[in-house]
Amino acid sequence: MTSTAADLPTTPRRVRVRPLAFVRRHLLTAYALLAFAYLLVPIAVVIMFSFNHPKGRFNYVWQGFTWDNWRRWDAVPGLSSALVNSLEIAAIASVCATALGTLIALALVRHSFHGRSTTNLLVFLPMSTPEIVLGASLLTLFLSANAQLGFWTIVIAHIMFCISFVVVTVKARLVGFDRHLEEAAMDLGANEWTTFRKVTLPLIAPAILAALLLCFALSIDDFVITNFNAGTTVTFPLFVWGAARAATPPQINVVGTAIFAIAVTVMLVNVLWQRRSAAGSS
């Protein structure tokens, strides 16, 4: 049988390599490298200036190298409390938003019910509304309700805008989920709750974790919505905003670099781990 295949005339599948194609091929790569440089240069500037040793209040001109800013990163008054606020808010908001969003995703994918399109719309709308409108409208609500603006109003706001992202993330995983595994489990005598706990949940856990991390990142970085609803509480982005006007201590770059490094490490680990498990399962 194979000999028959070898006898058939074959059409060449690859275009002959010509000089122009060579240039074109590498032009794209050269462009990609330039684009990466464009993306990374500002980050390099941020990292570089975290080691700057400014004599005055501002950190815009390179004046010398020092480890001081890293050693004494909390020497700037207000920075560490702002950072702690940001971390606490992000932790609470991401857990709550992930829980609420996962439930919605499960309902949307697994069940049929009336009002599916309304639900879709309600979930999708916050993502397509400008942040400034989200923040401003929440402020109006809080003011009308005589609420005390501060830590908890920020948490409420963050949970609100994160839910949509969780739904999208978890839904994507649920849609591609193989129901046969669950059916197999139930055939083997597991009830619905046990099946969910032992089969479904572990398999969608990566998506839930991804959603949790996404929420955490969005919450830590949020400025616009927080600015409207923070009252006199200060989070890290709010601190940077205030600092940009009066004095930009290098410690801001230190904290920014640290957050960046941690986030990239987490993602790197995730990518490498996925490749390993993909290699293992193939």
Partner: protein, 289 residues
């Protein structure tokens, strides 16, 4: 458990209830309050508000702030187009040439996003500074007054658009990547079998198949960019203020809530309109999954 068995129909509603209640209470209701506020009037002496069905707020707002409205969509539009032009080749390269390293390379696009938005924008203040390398280079090639103004880049519209482009690039790149990555390579090979060269294959096969990504990317970039104010504040001047700056200052500095609320609704209305027109032009694409 038997309760749930008997009332199977209830399960989805129970699952949806907490999340949807949260969204209803903290997204829908506030918008209602905002609408109510947009029809109020402010007493300039003691900063109190009275509800007076003040529809004139809307016409007043448009006539006073139409420069900023137009400017916002102008800047956001340019930034979106530039972001598309920058990301498409880059993302194409990752999707088609990335091979095993695709996910790792994506990290380079997403990574910068993890530096706080404000800090990233402040870095651009340093890069585009009058005494910095970019401005010096542009001065040397005599392009500075073409691209910038008055021998500088900061405090010009160019700097603001550049900032918006950079900050929203991942929003353009990632949806583009998703749709490019999903293209079945056999389709391209088939085109080449039918004697298409690389360029034609791209134009006739790849590009059309990537349109859903282009659509999603442009929306995800344009919508938040038009409401942005941080780039205009940090890289521009009061004369490059976007509608976001006006809303922000009316809410947080001048506490002129009715005007701010009105502008917010106008912004949302215009965006919705643009999205509808855009989706008609590109064909009905399903936005929600």
């Amino acid at each position: 458990m038997s309760f749930l068995h008997r009332h199977r129909g209830l399960v989805p509603y129970l699952l949806l209830a907490p999340g949807l209640a949260w969204l209803a209470l903290f997204f829908v209701v506030p918008l209602g309050f905002l609408g109510h506020q947009s029809l109020e009037e402010q007493n300039p002496v003691d900063f109190s508000y009275t509800f007076t069905w003040a529809w004139h707020n809307y016409s007043d707002a448009i006539s006073t702030y139409h420069p900023q409205l137009i400017r916002s969509f102008e800047y956001a539009g340019i930034a979106t187009v530039v972001a598309l032009l920058i990301s498409y080749p880059l993302v194409y390269w990752i999707a088609f040439r990335g091979g095993r390293w695709k996910n790792l390379l994506l990290l380079f696009i997403i990574g910068p996003f993890f530096v706080t938005y404000l800090i990233r924008t402040l870095a651009w203040q340093t890069i585009l500074a009058d005494q910095g390398p970019v401005v010096h280079f542009l001065r040397d090639v005599h392009l500075i007054n073409v691209i910038g103004d008055n021998d500088r880049l900061l405090a010009t519209p160019t700097a603001v658009v550049a900032g918006i482009t950079y900050n929203y690039l991942p929003f353009m790149a990632l949806p583009l990547y998703v749709s490019l990555e999903q293209i079945d390579h056999r389709l391209i090979e088939a085109a080449q079998d039918l004697y298409a060269n690389a360029g034609t294959a791209f134009l006739r096969v790849t590009l059309p198949l990537s349109l859903p990504g282009v659509f999603a990317g442009t929306l995800l970039t344009f919508i938040p960019a038009s409401g942005d104010f941080i780039n205009a504040q940090l890289l521009g001047t009061t004369r490059t203020f976007m509608i976001g700056n006006v809303i922000q200052s009316r809410f947080l500095e001048l506490t002129d809530y009715p005007v701010a609320a009105t502008l917010s609704f106008i912004l949302m209305a215009i965006i919705l309109l643009m999205v509808l027109v855009y989706s008609r032009v590109l064909g009905t694409e399903r936005l929600t999954g």
